[in-house]
């Protein structure tokens, strides 16, 4: 098991190398003078020259690349122009906020989408199947920033149920002591139920926004693969040997149907991490997405590049986890290693 894990980790290395090359290219080789970018919009020729020197842009390209990789190895992604803080530090402090939001969104959508997809397939042609179809088509069509605004208008302005969409906590609540960085866990660990309630009420709308967005692909894939499995030969055999409907659907159909769904999760994560940026902007969520957007508007490029790289590394790691999970369920993959 450890050996397979090691092998799988090794397969991620070339991907990571590709990611690093692309992010490097995005900063250096593309048209225009990177030094001008990094010096910011209010730069003088002098400051540009300084930036060029400090970034090593006067050196040949391979050397620049080695230096870039060296900096990365030391966890150095440069400094933000607007705040003057190291990019890594800011990303690290903001990451838990994004992670809490993305994961709760994903969890929420899994909890709804998987049963919906399964039921739609088992009762093909029933009302639940139609709901599933509508959700699957409408869900992918909703611009995530628009869904967010719509929810804010309905639940904050019209109904007044939700708090104002500004960040992870309202002005009166205090952040719980940081242990995991996830406010929901931290407040529970500190037995601070007031903070928990406050954090949860802030989290619900953005998480629902993300969930609505990722619901569609998961429900659609679950339904499709469940349908395929239900009409497969081995389910027919299971039925013909008189197994109980529950056994047929859960042990035989569902577990097999989950395999393509797990593969789809990689794609869903890709969408989620992108949608996260937009949702954070709508809800003024203090995560790494809104950090990147603020930096973009201020033409502050080091944070943007750092953000892109961090997201890519995170995404590769997530894919790796999905791969491992797949191997646990599917014996065919396990053997080949």
């Amino acid at each position: 098991m450890l050996a397979t894990l090691g092998k799988r980790l090794a397969t991620a290395i070339p991907t990571l190398i590709g990611v690093v090359i692309v992010t490097f290219l995005l900063t250096r080789v593309l048209p225009g003078d990177p030094a001008v970018y990094f010096a910011g919009p209010a730069a003088t020729p002098q400051s540009i020259a300084e930036v060029r020197k400090s970034l090593g842009l006067d050196r040949p390209l391979p050397e620049q690349f080695l230096r870039y990789v060296g900096d990365l190895a030391h966890g150095d992604l440069g400094n933000s122009l607007s705040t003057g803080q190291p990019v890594v530090k800011e990303l690290r402090s903001r990451l838990p906020a994004s992670a809490e939001l993305t994961l709760s969104g994903l969890l929420l959508s899994l909890v709804i989408a998987v049963p919906l997809g399964v039921l739609a397939a088992v009762r093909q042609g029933s009302w639940i199947d139609h709901i599933c179809r509508i959700v699957a088509t409408a869900g992918v069509s909703l611009p995530v920033f628009f869904t967010g605004l719509l929810l804010v208008y309905i639940f904050y302005f019209v109904l007044g149920w939700a708090p104002s969409p500004v960040g992870r906590l309202d002005a009166f609540a205090t952040a719980p002591p940081s242990i995991t960085g996830f406010y929901l866990f931290d407040s529970l660990l500190a037995r601070d139920f007031e903070s928990f309630r406050a954090a949860l009420s802030q989290l619900i709308l953005p998480a629902v926004t993300l969930a609505v967005f990722s619901l569609a692909p998961i429900a659609r894939m679950t339904r499709a693969s469940m349908l395929a499995v239900l009409s497969s030969d081995f389910v027919r055999t299971a039925r013909a040997s008189g197994l109980a409907t529950r056994t047929v659907i859960v042990t035989y159909a569902f577990r097999n149907a989950m395999l393509p769904v797990i593969t789809t999760l990689g794609m869903v994560f890709s969408f989620l991490l992108g949608a996260n940026v937009l949702v954070e902007k709508v809800f003024a969520w203090p995560g790494i997405g809104s950090y990147a957007v603020e930096a973009l508007i201020a033409s502050d490029f080091a944070p943007v590049q750092g953000f892109v790289l961090a997201m890519a590394i995170l995404y590769v790691a997530l894919n790796l986890a999905i791969d491992v999970l797949y191997g646990v369920i599917d014996p065919r993959v396990r053997v080949d290693g």
Binding site: K7, R8, T11, A12, P14, T15, Q124, S231, S232, D233, F234, R236, T237, A238, R239, A240, S241, G242, L243, A244, T245, T247, T251, Y252, R255, N256, L259, T263, G266, V316, N319, L320, I322, D323, Y326, G327, I329, D330, P331, R332, V333, V335, D336, G337
Partner: protein, 577 residues
């Protein structure tokens, strides 16, 4: 656990049939309205009896049994009739009762055994599922019983195999597991739906023998659903013949072979290749004048057209990889991991001779035909065609060589071998346009029509697309294309494997006629010795990449020289004659 449904006790006096099907009609709701797949079918099965339902594809033979077990898909329903099992009305029985009967009283085996097993569950567990469901054992004893079942179907090292997944077993082994699963709860009736289709003949024999032995041992009744009249007659007491959803004849298997009554049965009987029958005799009686048997006296002096020497083909072995690494094929393929598909074979084909290349799947016969066709390059060895070593010409370059037109091929799957966007005429014209020396649309069209005439394809079908043609018509298009350039050698790669027997008989005769009139040489690649010997003067038997035996087909059929050929011959089901 639900209490098992009581099966009505039988009085010793009234020997009720085990399964009785009366006036069964099954309908399917389709786009074009309701289709009656099975119409007014009657038959019954006594306890301990073995019955075969025989028919060509679309005859409704599978649907009948699915209806009896009530596992039709959602579009199908029993419209009329009654199905009773030991006196229990299966059509009216509640679903819970049916579920209880399935597996415990009536079991079923399907074709394609590998797909019939849950790919991600241990085979032992799958057998246990059935045992536990029908309360045959408690949880503690289940594993032991499952292992015992594996042992009964002669799976070696059953204790280890218990933990195997289906993908780790061969097709024949998977079918044994499926049999174990079906028999685990000691049912009274087993329905086997084409249980050996797709398996090699030797495996087919082993599986069928096992099946018969186990069911006989237990005093079970069996229904064997098959397209193969030979198989049906060899293994069953009684045969029911179905055509287009109706039963046309039902009789003891000996009777049906000796005195088939219904014209359809007679036609089917006739078309089934069997020992001692000539190619012409496969055609239905009265179809044209009896043509003379082909003059196939093997001519020893015939000049060789093609000579193959020490032909070898290695393939690299490739393992599957994880999702992320699939496109990053950075690891080199280890050198030792190559697989020798063709292992130093030598043979020759004379002018105007037809040679059969026979072997089971994976023996290297298809690779050999691809090598001869110059579709792939060999690892070593020579292929001399009419004095020129075409083995020296790389496959990539061969497509445009003038020699290309002299070697052509008829493919195994006629549907797959026709571009779905080309009409029949366009498909036949393709080689003429590329390599032929005809110019002008009218000349090409005329040649297409001439070829269509030669292969017996009605001219009005020339402008149809493949999906508008039947299997036999598509086969004719494929043959017309292959002979369009008047080749010297045509390789026939299982040209009738996907066809029903009656169509097969016609196509085989067509091929023989074409050879007689055009004087081509054939290399007929097939798994079926019985079919090959009809068309071929000489037979080459391959096993594991090597030639084990070659010689005149008559000699090989009568007195095979090697054990393997003998085994192959013995495995062909012999009807009781």
């Amino acid at each position: 656990m639900r209490a098992p449904t009581p099966i009505p006790e039988q009085d010793a006096g009234h020997a009720l049939p085990l399964l009785d099907i009366r006036d069964l009609t099954v309908e399917f709701a389709t786009r074009r309205g309701t289709v009656r797949a099975v119409r007014h079918v009657n038959f019954s099965l006594a306890k301990g009896e073995t019955l075969a339902i025989v028919g060509e594809s679309g005859s409704g033979k599978s649907v009948t049994s699915y209806a009896a077990m009530r596992i039709l898909d959602r579009a199908g329903r029993i419209a009329e009739g009654a199905v009773s099992f030991s006196g229990l009305d299966l059509r009216a029985a509640p679903e819970a009762t049916m579920r209880d009967l399935r597996g415990r009283e009536i079991s079923m085996i399907f074709q394609n055994p590998r797909a019939a097993l849950n790919p991600i569950r241990k085979i032992g567990k799958q057998i246990e599922d059935a045992l536990l469901q029908h309360a045959q054992v408690d949880r503690a004893a289940a594993a032991g019983k499952a292992v015992a079942m594996l042992e009964q179907v002669r799976i070696a090292r059953p204790r280890e195999r218990y933990h195997a997944y289906p993908f780790e077993l061969s097709g024949g082994m998977c079918q044994r597991v499926v049999i174990a699963l079906a028999l685990a709860c000691r049912p009274q009736l087993l329905i086997a739906d084409e249980p050996t289709t797709g398996l090699d003949v030797t495996t087919q024999k082993a599986v069928m023998d096992l099946l018969v032995e186990l069911t006989r041992e237990r005093g079970m009744s069996t229904i064997l659903i098959t397209h193969d009249l030979g198989l049906a007659a060899a293994y069953c007491d009684r045969v029911v013949v179905m055509e287009k959803g109706e039963v046309v004849e039902s009789a003891g298997s000996e009777t049906i072979f000796r005195h088939p009554e219904h014209p359809y049965t007679r036609k089917l009987m006739h078309a089934t290749p069997r020992p001692g029958v000539t190619l012409r005799a496969l055609l239905p009686e009265g179809s044209g004048e009896p043509r003379p048997a082909p003059a196939s006296a093997p001519d020893v002096d015939r000049q060789p057209l093609l000579t193959v020497e020490n032909l070898v083909k290695d393939y690299p072995r490739q393992g599957a990889r994880g999702a992320l690494s699939k496109l990053w094929r950075s690891e080199p393929v280890p050198e030792s991991d190559s697989f020798r598909a063709v292992d130093g074979i030598s043979f020759s084909i004379g002018r105007g001779e037809s040679v059969g290349l026979v072997g089971e799947s994976g023996c290297g016969k298809s690779t050999t035909s691809s090598l001869l066709m110059r579709l792939i390059d060999q690892t070593s060895g020579s292929i001399v065609f009419d004095g020129e070593n075409i083995g020296d010409i790389p496959a990539r370059r061969f497509a445009k060589m003038p020699l290309r037109r002299r070697i052509q091929m008829v493919f195994q799957d006629a549907t797959d071998s026709l571009n779905p966007r080309y009409t029949a005429a366009r498909a036949i014209a393709d080689p003429i346009l590329r390599l032929g020396n005809l110019s002008g649309r009218d000349a090409v069209r005329a040649r297409c029509e001439e070829l269509a005439g030669q292969v017996g394809l009605p001219l009005d079908l020339l402008d149809r697309f493949p999906h508008q043609l039947s299997g036999g018509q598509k086969a004719r298009v494929g043959i017309a294309r292959a002979i369009a350039l008047k080749p010297d050698l045509v390789i026939l790669d299982e040209p009738t494997a996907a066809l029903d027997v009656s169509v097969q008989a016609v196509v085989l005769n067509l091929l023989q006629d074409l050879k007689d009139s055009l004087g081509m040489s054939y290399l007929f690649v097939s798994h079926d010795l019985n079919v090959v010997r009809l068309l071929c003067d000489r037979v080459i038997v391959m096993q594991a990449g090597k030639i084990v035996e070659q010689g005149p087909s008559k000699r090989i059929m009568v007195s095979p020289a090697t054990d393997y050929t003998r085994e192959l011959l013995a495995a062909i089901p012999h009807p009781p004659l």
